[in-house]
Subunit: 170 residues, 2 copies
DNA sequence: CGGTTCATGTAATACGTTACATGATTCG
DNA sequence: CGAATCATGTAACGTATTACATGAACCG
């Protein structure tokens, strides 16, 4: 249900085409709400159908630029302020942890080590992203920075946990 | 695809009915891989159909006790060791953070405060869960403890981040 | 004997992924 | 003029949620 709100949120900052929005999802929202091309175009048509967005311009190659409508803005604000955020995260990574007794001790340690490495790699990426953002060439909002910082802290936590967890298995 | 492996993992520790498994999902796996009753029974039938589990006993009230088969164990281990964990989480909570500029500063602060409170509450719950586990009455595996510790650290991180984030908006 | 718990299933709907399909325009 | 990029869409399939539906057995 939130792809819809991701699109509304982006369109609230200005008109854009499906193609533009896809790029935005790939760049800024990739870690928060990934979406496929297919899903995105379908949802745009649904949103236009229900009047939350509308085509404001048409360009070359069938390009359709969408703008958010008043009722779209209302829906966005309603979602922001009234709809309680859902706290359900599925994690196949953690699910495996529950079943580590099914493999050998060395297998378990190597799995946890791997998790640590992956998290460390993700952390590095986010750090270079922050440097890029801080250099000023890219204008990420204050709020984008908050989200980025969340990612940084989360990854650090995971790196530390993975190290700790590996040590527990002896 | 991982509900399947959650079921296999639980059945690897001993036979159980759909009803039993549902309780296990609600208790131990609720924070890692929530599943509904409907989904679970459907998946059990699929698993039995493909020979990864089998009915080992039938009880009162149509109770069917399932056991994992050799090929089920093989599939579980394959998933544990060969299939790379997916690192894709969607978070409507963070998505909202990206769009906080759409509401007032006070609205934004109150949202972040709320996130902190929710995380703090979750943290408390996990802490009492740990106490319960450590008291020894309940026998959670070493690996369950690792997952629990992950949850604790994650929640602490979120509490701290929410406080920090709220201070950034002035 | 009546309410709770045990126990299993189906149907409709929504959301997400992968693959398929097509074509216009720009740029070198 | 050919490759890359821009640009949009559909179809099939798998997974997840909600609601509906049913009934046996246990316990007080």
């Amino acid at each position: 249900m939130s792809l819809r709100h991701g699109l509304l949120g982006l369109l609230a900052e200005g008109p854009a085409s499906g193609y533009d929005l896809l790029k935005s999802f790939e760049l800024s929202l990739a870690n928060v709400w990934p979406a496929t091309q297919s899903q995105l175009y379908t949802e745009l048509n649904k949103l236009a159908g229900s009047g939350l967005i509308e085509v404001v311009a048409e360009g070359a190659r069938g390009r359709k630029e969408y703008g958010i409508t008043e009722s779209g803005l209302a829906e966005l604000r309603h979602w922001m302020t009234e709809v309680p955020p859902q706290q359900v995260h599925r994690s196949d990574m953690l699910l495996r942890v529950f079943f580590l007794s099914q493999i050998t001790g060395e297998g378990a340690r190597s799995y946890l080590r791997h998790l640590g490495e992956v998290a460390a790699k993700g952390l590095e990426e986010l750090e270079s992203m922050r440097e890029f953002v801080d250099s000023g060439t890219e204008n990420l909002s204050v709020y984008g920075r908050l989200a980025l910082e969340y990612g940084l802290r989360l990854h650090r936590t995971q790196v530390e946990w993975a190290q700790w967890a590996e040590e527990q298995i002896r």
